[in-house]
């Protein structure tokens, strides 16, 4: 959707035309779900996060000044939501780690591991599984920066804007992410298919 059309659609939504909001959802949902899916590693949570982003967009439409495009706004919201989601998941794993009884389930089985939902993986095959596992070793921010740069091909300047970080910090996260991935995928280097 180009900027001019988006402006018209936004004006219609503000005038109470709900159908226009659906136009907006349809225009962005594929990309937004895809981004969330890449960031969290499973479809169900990705759809929930994408849905929450659209609900927040709807809630904030009255104050949406158009400083950024709807797409950038959604990217920013989805990325922040997934960072929060991943932090909560890691916290859950830590809490369950201190479980008292051995009869309880293993925390890694209970926590939604982005690398452990084979039926839900969009990356098929050994390479996909290895990448998903390696991505699981990254911090939430490293994963977001790497995904936005490598997969979504967003320039670092835009990533800095999306994550509201200094460009230097984004570069450091990217460098660290690639370093970890190289370490994790060392044996596959050059042989990934």
């Amino acid at each position: 959707m180009d900027a001019a059309t988006e402006k018209i659609v936004l004006a219609r939504i503000r005038d109470g035309d709900e159908a226009s909001f659906e136009v907006l959802v349809r225009a962005h949902s594929a990309k937004i779900i895809s981004l969330a899916w890449r960031l969290v590693g499973n479809r169900e949570d990705a759809e929930d996060i994408a849905q929450e982003a659209f609900i927040r967009l709807h809630r904030n439409l009255a104050s949406f000044r158009g400083d950024s495009s709807v797409s950038t706004w959604l990217y920013r919201t989805v990325t922040r939501l997934t960072i929060d989601y991943q932090r909560r998941q890691k916290l859950k794993q830590k809490i369950f780690f201190f479980r008292r009884s051995n009869a309880e389930h293993d925390p890694y089985e209970l926590a939604a591991d982005p690398a452990a939902s084979p039926g839900d993986q969009y990356l098929a095959g050994e390479a996909g599984r290895r990448l998903a596992a390696a991505m699981g070793k990254l911090s939430a921010r490293q994963r977001a920066v790497f995904t936005l740069r490598h997969h979504e091909e967003l320039p670092l300047k835009e990533i800095a804007a999306v994550l509201q970080l200094e460009e230097g910090t984004v570069k450091a996260h990217l460098h660290r992410a690639v370093h970890i991935l190289r370490k994790e995928l060392k044996d596959l280097q050059g042989g990934l298919t």
């Binding site: 109470g16 709900e18 909001f21 659906e22 959802v25 349809r26 949902s29 594929a30 779900i33 895809s34 899916w37 890449r38 479809r43 990705a46 759809e47 994408a50 849905q51 659209f54 609900i55 709807h58 809630r59 008292r100 009884s101 969009y122 990356l123 095959g125 390479a127 996909g128 990448l131 740069r149 490598h150 997969h151 320039p155 670092l156 570069k171 990217l174 460098h175 690639v178 991935l181 190289r182 995928l185 060392k186 596959l188 280097q189 050059g190 042989g191 990934l192 298919t193």
Partner: protein
């Protein structure tokens, strides 16, 4: 992977930015010049590129039917929010109408000589008996607390 010490005089972060085309013209030229004379950096860049270009990049995709379902789900969540602004007015109008109808028909609805239910005082007395029996209530509360403690015990 090239040992970090071998490339310490170079800046490996620049190679990553070079790969992603994130350097300005001067920075890019500088790296290219450096690469001509530095075997270690050339090998490092080659390794880096072989990994990054080999990583699967397939985007997860949903079918149009799945996207339709997703849109419907979002709209379902979103629509009640907006309708909140219109519903109260309708609600107040309906409530006002109902109140008016009841007021107008009240004399017809009320029986002329409505006898009090005979058992009402008995029920009230029974309720009062229970309420007055505080000892019993306290015992019940204690029992509930005990059950709760028993449930929580395995959790420490």
């Amino acid at each position: 992977m090239i040992n970090q010490e071998q490339i310490c005089s170079c800046r490996p972060q620049q190679l990553l930015l070079y790969h992603y085309d994130e350097l300005d013209t001067a920075g890019r030229r500088q790296v290219e010049q450096h690469l001509q004379s530095c075997t270690a950096c050339r090998a490092e860049l080659s390794e880096l590129q072989s990994l990054l270009t080999a990583l699967p990049t397939a985007a997860p995709k949903l079918s149009s039917a799945e996207l339709d379902r997703f849109s419907a789900r979002v709209m379902e969540q979103v629509q009640p929010r907006r309708s909140r602004f219109t519903r109260p007015a309708l609600g107040w109008a309906l409530a006002g109408g109902a109140a008016l109808l009841i007021t107008l028909n009240l004399p017809q609805l009320l029986p002329t000589s409505a006898p009090l239910p005979a058992k009402l005082p008995v029920v009230m007395t029974a309720d009062q008996d229970v309420l007055l029996n505080l000892e019993l209530l306290q015992t019940l509360e204690l029992l509930e607390d005990f059950e709760l403690l028993q449930q929580l015990e395995p959790l420490g």
